[in-house]
Amino acid sequence: MTEHEPDQLDARLARLDRNIEPVRDLWPAIAAAIAEPVPHTRDAGSTRWFSSSRFHSGRSWAIAASLLLMIASSAVTYVVTQRSMQAEVIRARQAVAQQLQPVLAVMPANFGGQMQMDAEYSRAHAVLDAQFAVALQSLPVPERARLERSVGDLRRAARELSAMLAEHPSDPLLQELLLSTYQNELGLLARVNGLQSATSLGADL
């Protein structure tokens, strides 16, 4: 028998039915899968890659766009500030530094196991707070409301962090957050007071 002549094995293999009917209908699952909006231009493997990539790429683009916007915004603010308000900003910075100096001097670098600031800090804080209240009166109502809301948020955060710290006194993260919140509040008070002082100074000049 030659190589090309079908033998008994070939004949039997050729008689096998190539079709086997499924015992269940497989179409509903296929129909459900293909109903999903997937691009038809690539195979499944690359489609999965494409979808995932597109998702990550979209998110990356959003993040990148946000960062770009922030950078652009900061750059514009910087340029405008540098060009038109340089003298005022310098005066304000000096005033802020002046305002913060006594408070920062008594503010610890960390709590060191304590949960409350000492009396000296409280006094310095009270002075800044009183000056803040005065400074607020000279500001337009919308600006005043915005600042009061910001200070209120910071103080509420400080209260909540203090309460959590009371339960977990040795938690370094909570300590760091509370300290940072206090510093932010003081910074805000000092900036408002300092800007108000600088404005007065600028007007005097």
Binding site: L9, P22, L26, I34, T41
Partner: protein, 209 residues
């Protein structure tokens, strides 16, 4: 939905739907009903291939579903240079191979416990189990067919794939090598080995070659 009338008209007594080109074109444009007709026309053939390659009905059915899902998503890439069925078979073979690679990665054993009803008859695993389908043809041939299916299922994986694709489904050495990602020489060697083992297990004479 692919109505039975459309399907009958599509098949018209042939393995290939008479209006396959139109169905493919419609499916490419997003017509799911046309694609369902293609599925109805080819699912049993694709299942036959997957079942013989995997030897397990549950896995084979999963592969069939994945094959058609992938085909739908890749229809734009189908240029019509080969028959639609050949293109489907290529996807199906790829699905089976991917499944086997994943199974190997998970270190699953082929003889892991499975429901009897899920297993296709096999010479090495469950050879005494009945076939899960009744082959078409005369009853007197049924025993012979069952013996052959069992012998096929008992072949080592590499040889089995080549024998199934070449001797049962009629693909050339080059096509089989391309589908399986192996060299043509390897394909020929696997076919030779597979045929030899089949003859031995079926009690056929070597002289018959």
């Amino acid at each position: 939905m692919c109505s039975s009338a459309v399907l009958e008209q599509s098949l018209s007594g042939s393995d290939v739907p008479a209006n396959e080109g139109m169905l493919v074109a419609a499916a490419r444009s997003g017509d799911a009903a046309a694609f369902e007709c293609l599925y109805r026309a080819y699912c049993s053939r694709v299942l036959g291939l997957c079942l013989r390659m995997t030897r397990r009905r549950d896995i084979a059915e999963d592969c069939v579903q994945q094959t058609f899902i992938r085909a739908w998503r890749s229809l734009a890439a189908f240029e019509g240079r080969s028959a639609f069925s050949t293109w489907l078979h290529r996807i199906a073979v790829n699905e089976v191979l991917m499944h086997q690679r994943n199974r190997e990665n998970r270190s699953e054993l082929d003889h892991s416990p499975n429901p009897r009803s899920e297993r296709f008859s096999s010479g090495e695993a469950g050879a005494d189990e009945p076939l899960q389908y009744q082959p078409a043809g005369k009853e007197r041939d049924a025993g012979e067919v069952m013996d052959l299916e069992r012998a096929l299922a008992s072949l080592p994986e590499g040889s089995r794939h080549v024998v199934i694709l070449q001797a049962v489904y009629g693909y050339s050495h080059e096509e089989v090598a391309d589908m399986l990602g192996i060299a043509v020489g390897t394909c020929k060697a696997q076919l030779h080995r597979g045929r030899k083992l089949l003859r031995k297990r079926l009690g056929l004479s070597e002289l018959d070659t």
